[in-house]
Amino acid sequence: MMSVLGSFPLFITVLISLFLTGVSLPEKLVPYWPDWIVLVLIYWGMARPGRVSVFFGWFIGLLVDVMHGSLLGQNALALTLISYIVNILHLRMRMFPLLQQSFFIVMLVALHLGITAWIRGMTGEFVITPLYWMPAFVSGVVWPVLFITLRDVRRSGMKR
């Protein structure tokens, strides 16, 4: 019973992150849009490693592939690996101060972007511009705010 109630904030925030990934933006803004999916997955991977497994990451990645019309398995692979890293390191990451967490987030989002670019380069033509890496830094900047918000959401969910 507890786990069902506690899972409610998890699913809502994951759905919101999918929504934010799908929202159409003016072309100029695209590089400055944080990687919401990865941020939310990392948060829940840290907070509830038992619930947010690698399979969860894989499945969400598959949904992103379908939404984005990209090669099926591309985001699934990247998000599986990110979930795995978070799963191994979640105890250590909880101990990090927020700034250090942000730094780690930049690296994880860059990993997501890197895997995606690598696969796209292998299956077609893809040129990486410096702006391509921008979402990693923006995600790192957004992380502290998101972390505190999601923690409050999770705690309010637990009290109910």
Partner: protein, 305 residues
């Protein structure tokens, strides 16, 4: 340092699961890259996330309708007047086309070609959803429920835009001409020289590779769809040549072109169903005439010659 106990209890199964999922992802990518077999899975997953996709179209649509409602009344009237004149002009041209179409069909029948010019056309609107960053793709609000199929040509009033790559029940994804994966068989309208138009990933820039140095092609030439490969019907404007580079050390010309249709303008496009609806079947039909009669299923029309 992490708790050694927790690592002991979780590490082996997690690693195994990750390995399985990584292999599964790679298998999916290999299959998806080479075949169309995963389209069913894609369609059903799309239906599953459709509520989220639908919600994410709302902000974009709201911005659009807001900008539209902010247009002044006078400018709308002006536009209306202009469109009326255009409509009249096209109507008069269209009447002429009717006669020409009948002529062409008669001539084609004389030549023994069964190809029809008649095409079904459906208006589709762009959906405000973001796709993978830096791809040249758009989403349309028509899907398999309107008989949209993979490989279907998409045009607008100006020329060819691209072709459908994924479909779901209510939406479809279209690869634009400028996508690096896009390839459209074209010919030069002036002399019928054939080639394949490829995207570059850069907006408004296309290339026409594999034309040799002695090819008869000039800057400003109009390229139209050649109908080769059976996907695109013949005769739609695709691009104009903007630059030709002759490098003596290279075997082929370096040709750059711009799409005729402005790909990033307008919210409405047209889906075409070419007259001969199953292009793949026209190929065996042609060879049937020369094939031994015993192999052909008995049809009254075909026994006569």
């Amino acid at each position: 340092m992490s708790n050694p106990l927790s690592r002991l209890s979780t590490a082996p199964p997690v690693t195994l699961r990750v390995l399985i999922l990584v292999v599964a992802s790679i298998a999916l990518m290999l299959i998806d890259n080479r075949t169309q077999q995963l389209e069913k899975l894609r369609t059903s997953l799309h239906t599953l996330v459709y509520p989220v996709i639908f919600l994410s179209t709302i902000p974009g649509d709201a911005v659009n309708s807001l900008t539209r409602s902010m247009q002044k009344h006078s400018s709308l009237q002006e536009e209306n007047e202009k469109l009326k004149q255009e409509n009249l002009y096209y109507k008069s041209r269209f009447e002429k086309l009717y006669a020409l179409e009948a002529d062409i069909e008669r001539l084609k029948r004389l030549l023994g070609q069964s190809e029809e010019l008649a095409e079904k056309i459906l208006l589709a609107e762009l959906v405000e959803v973001s796709l993978e960053p830096y791809t040249q793709q758009i989403v349309l609000n028509k899907g398999t429920s309107d008989d949209v199929y993979i490989g279907q040509p998409v045009i607008n009033g100006e020329g060819v835009i691209g072709q459908v790559v994924h479909t779901s029940h209510l939406q479809s994804i279209v690869t634009l001409l400028t996508d690096p994966d896009s390839a459209v068989p074209v010919m030069v309208m002036r002399n019928g020289l054939r080639g394949i138009m490829r995207g570059t990933g850069v907006t408004d820039k296309l290339k026409l590779p594999y034309l040799t140095a002695d090819a008869d092609i000039l800057v400003g030439d109009l390229l139209i769809s050649s109908g080769m490969g059976g996907r695109f019907p013949t005769g739609y404007p695709v691009a104009t040549i903007t630059a030709i580079e002759r490098d003596p050390s290279l075997e082929f010309l370096n040709i750059v072109a711009t799409p005729v249709a402005r790909l990033d303008h307008g919210r409405e496009v047209l889906l075409i169903w070419p007259g001969n609806e199953q292009p793949a079947e026209t190929v065996p039909e042609v060879t049937e005439e020369s094939a031994p009669p015993m192999a052909v299923p008995l049809l009254d029309g075909e026994q006569q010659p």
